[in-house]
C-alpha cells in the first residue's frame, strides 16, 4: 500500500526564521495546496461578475479548477469544472454564459446551474438498470463543500469542516466594509476587466511582500523619483498636478521612517492589516462633491466614521490582497511551486461621482496593469528571491526585523510604536502556515 509520508513541518518554521524548502520543495507545495488552499476560504469573485443566470467565471482553488456560476434563482454556486461522466472539463473558456444549462462538449450530458444532472442522451435505452442517472450524486457536477459571500464577495471552501466565512475573515472583513461603506449606496460593482500577471516565484513570496512596509522606498524609488520630477514640472506649469502623480511619487516621498509610523495588525488565520490611509481626501472639488453625496447617504457622523477608517492594505491569507481605499484587489492563484498567477480587479463605488472612480482607475492602470510602473520591480525581486532560495547558499529566510517587540493581545499581534516596518506579518503568516500544515 502506498504510504504518504508527511514531513514534520514544525521543524521548518521557527518564530523568526523559515527554512528555504518551504518555498522551493514541490512536495511541500502539494501538501500546502491540500492543507491550506483546498481547505480554507478562498476568494472566487464578486457577485457582479456574474449578473445573469448562467453567467460563469472559472477560478482556480488550490489545484482545483472551479466554476463560479449564477443560477436561475439568483444563487451563486461554485462547482468543479468537470463532467462526472468521463472527466471532461465543462467550460473551456475563462468566462461566459452557459445558457439554460451546462452541456458537456464530449457526450452531451447536461446539468443545471447548481450542478445537478439534467439529462443524459439515451438515458432510458443506455442507462436503464444501471447506477447512472438523476438522483445519483455521482452523476452531478461536484460542488464546492461550502460557499458563502460577504457584501458581494464570494468565497468557497473545499472542506466540509472549518470556521464559517465570517469567523475566518475576522477583523480582515474590514477590507470589504471599508470598500463598500465608501460607496454612497453601500456596495461596489466590479469593472469587468481582469489583469493577469504570472510571477516566477512561490506564492508566499508575493504574500510576504504585500505588507512589507520597508520595501517600497527601496524597490520603487525609481518610479517615485521620476513621478516626483514630472509632478513638479506640471505644478510649475499649471499650478496643480493630477492626484495620479502623487500616487506614484509617494513611493519616493514616504520614507522608511514614515512607513515605520504605520502599524500592522496580525491575526491567527494569517490575515494582516496595514494601517496608514493613503491621503486620498484632499480638498479638491471632486472630493468635496463626493463628500456631499456621502453625507446625504449616511449623515455627517457616519460619514466621518467611514472616512476615518485608516487602512492601507489588507491581506486575507492565503490568497487575497485588498487595497480598500482604492477599491483594488489581487487574488493569488498558485500554479506551481515556482509559479504564481495574480488576478487583478478594481471596483466602482455605487453612487459615487465618476471622478472618484477615475481616481481608483488611475491607480489600477499605473500600478496594477501589465505595464505597471511599480510591480515590475517587485516581480524582478520575487524571481530573484526564488532563485536564491533554490540554491544551497543558505538554509534560512530571516524574518527578524523588530522580532521580540511585537505586542500580543488575545491572539492578535500588533507591531509596537514606530515599528511599522516590522516583519511581524511574515512571522505571523508562517505561524499560521505551520498550524494549517499540522492540523
Amino acid at each position: 500500500m502506498l504510504q504518504e509520508r508527511v514531513p514534520d513541518f514544525a521543524k521548518f518554521v521557527e518564530p523568526d526564521r523559515v527554512r528555504r524548502e518551504v518555498y522551493t520543495d514541490p512536495q511541500i507545495f502539494d501538501h500546502e495546496m491540500q492543507r491550506v488552499h483546498e481547505r480554507v476560504w478562498i476568494y472566487c469573485g464578486h457577485e457582479s461578475q456574474v449578473p445573469r443566470a448562467g453567467d460563469y467565471y472559472t477560478v482556480q482553488i488550490g489545484r482545483q479548477p472551479m466554476l463560479m456560476v449564477r443560477g436561475k434563482d439568483g444563487k451563486i454556486h461554485v462547482l468543479y469544472n468537470r463532467c462526472p461522466h468521463r472527466g471532461n472539463m465543462m467550460c473551456g473558456d475563462r468566462h461566459g454564459n452557459a445558457g439554460e444549462f451546462f452541456r458537456c462538449s464530449y457526450h452531451a450530458w447536461t446539468f443545471q446551474h447548481d450542478g445537478r444532472l439534467r439529462s443524459i442522451p439515451m438515458m432510458e435505452s443506455g442507462y436503464a438498470g444501471t447506477r447512472f442517472g438523476r438522483g445519483n450524486p455521482d452523476c452531478d457536477m461536484k460542488k464546492a463543500a461550502r460557499v458563502e459571500s460577504y457584501r458581494g464577495f464570494v468565497f468557497a471552501s473545499l472542506a466540509q469542516e472549518g470556521p464559517g466565512l465570517l469567523e475566518f475573515l475576522g477583523a480582515s472583513k474590514v477590507a470589504f466594509d471599508d470598500m463598500c461603506d465608501r460607496a454612497p449606496e453601500g456596495e461596489v460593482e466590479i469593472v469587468p476587466n481582469c489583469f493577469r500577471v504570472i510571477q516566477h516565484s512561490n506564492w508566499k513570496i508575493f504574500l510576504e511582500n504585500q505588507l512589507d512596509a520597508l520595501h517600497p522606498s527601496v524597490v520603487h524609488q525609481s518610479t517615485g523619483r521620476a513621478a516626483m520630477e514630472v509632478e513638479k514640472q506640471i505644478r510649475k506649469k499649471t499650478g496643480q498636478a493630477p492626484l495620479s502623480y502623487h500616487m506614484l511619487s509617494a513611493f519616493a516621498e514616504v520614507t522608511i521612517e514614515k512607513w515605520d509610523g504605520f502599524q500592522t495588525l496580525n491575526y491567527p488565520y494569517g490575515h494582516c492589516i496595514l494601517t496608514g490611509y493613503m491621503g486620498l481626501r484632499p480638498k479638491d472639488p471632486d472630493t468635496l462633491a463626493y463628500e456631499k453625496v456621502m453625507q446625504k447617504a449616511y449623515g455627517k457622523k457616519r460619514m466621518e466614521e467611514i472616512f476615518g477608517v485608516n487602512i492601507h492594505h489588507v491581506l486575507i491569507y492565503p490568497g487575497l490582497s485588498v487595497q480598500s481605499p482604492l477599491q483594488q484587489l489581487r487574488a493569488v492563484r498558485p500554479l506551481g511551486v515556482d509559479q504564481t498567477l495574480t488576478e487583478i480587479w478594481h471596483f466602482r463605488l455605487k453612487g459615487a461621482p465618476e471622478a472618484i472612480y477615475r481616481r481608483s482607475l488611475a491607480y489600477y492602470n499605473l500600478v496594477n496593469s501589465p505595464a505597471t510602473l511599480i510591480n515590475a520591480d517587485d516581480l524582478e525581486n520575487f524571481w530573484k528571491v526564488h532563485q536564491g532560495l533554490a540554491s544551497d547558499g543558505g538554509d534560512w529566510v530571516s524574518f527578524g526585523r523588530h522580532y521580540g517587540r511585537d505586542i500580543e493581545k488575545d491572539g492578535v499581534v500588533e507591531t509596537g510604536a514606530n515599528m511599522g516596518t516590522s516583519e511581524a506579518p511574515m512571522r505571523n503568516q508562517m505561524k499560521a502556515w505551520a498550524r494549517y500544515m499540522k492540523d
Binding site: R196, V197, L361, P370, D377
Partner: protein, 177 residues
C-alpha cells in the same frame, strides 16, 4: 485635397489621398518610430507625439475610448516621461538585466486622409523581446492618428491592439510596444 466630384473607387477601405507619397511618408514614419524603440531612444520616441498626444493600449479590442476605461497603457507625454525617467533610473532593478526588442511593422494601410494632412493609418506589428535568456512575442495592430507639422508627422493618438492583450502576462511590459 478637394472633395472628389465623382466617387472614389472603394478599395479595401482606402480613401483617396496623396496616393503613394503619403503611403511612403507614413510608412517611413512608422518604421522610424519602431526603430527608436529598438534603439532605446525613449526621448526620441516621446518627441514623435503631439503635445496633446496619447499612447493607448486597451485591454480589449471592443474599447472605443481610453478615457475612464481600464488600460494597459494610457499615457500622455507627461506620463510617458515618468516611464522614461523610471526606466533610466539606476535603481530600476528590473532594467538591469540584458534586454532588447525587435519590432517589425507591416501591412500599412491608410484609412483616412483629411485635406489638412491628418492621417489615420493602420498597420500590424510583431515584437520579439529578449529578457535575460527568455524570449517573448507580442503582436497586434497599430492605429496611428497622425497630424502633419512643419517637422513632419506627430502622433495625436496611437492605439495599440495587442493580440495577446487579454492573455496572462508572463512578467510585465516595461516600455511601449
Amino acid at each position: 485635397m478637394a472633395k472628389a466630384s465623382k466617387p472614389a473607387p472603394k478599395k479595401a477601405g482606402v480613401q483617396k489621398g496623396n496616393g503613394r507619397d503619403t503611403q511612403h511618408a507614413v510608412e517611413q514614419f512608422l518604421y522610424r518610430q519602431a526603430a527608436l524603440l529598438d534603439a532605446k531612444n525613449w526621448q526620441g520616441y516621446i518627441e514623435l507625439f503631439a503635445e496633446d498626444g496619447v499612447y493607448w493600449m486597451p485591454p480589449d479590442l471592443s474599447y472605443k475610448t481610453w478615457e475612464g476605461m481600464p488600460a494597459i497603457f494610457a499615457e500622455d507625454k507627461n506620463l510617458m516621461t515618468v516611464r522614461m525617467k523610471r526606466v533610466l533610473h539606476p535603481d530600476a532593478w528590473s532594467q538591469r538585466p540584458l534586454w532588447g526588442t525587435n519590432h517589425v511593422v507591416a501591412n500599412v494601410m491608410i484609412e483616412k486622409e483629411s485635406p489638412g494632412g491628418e492621417v489615420v493609418v493602420r498597420s500590424r506589428f510583431h515584437m520579439m523581446e529578449l529578457r535575460r535568456d527568455d524570449v517573448r512575442h507580442f503582436a497586434g495592430g497599430y492605429t496611428h492618428h497622425l497630424r502633419k507639422t512643419k517637422d513632419g508627422y506627430r502622433i495625436k493618438l496611437q492605439r495599440v491592439d495587442m493580440t495577446n492583450a487579454q492573455a496572462a502576462y508572463d512578467y510585465v511590459l516595461q516600455v511601449w510596444v
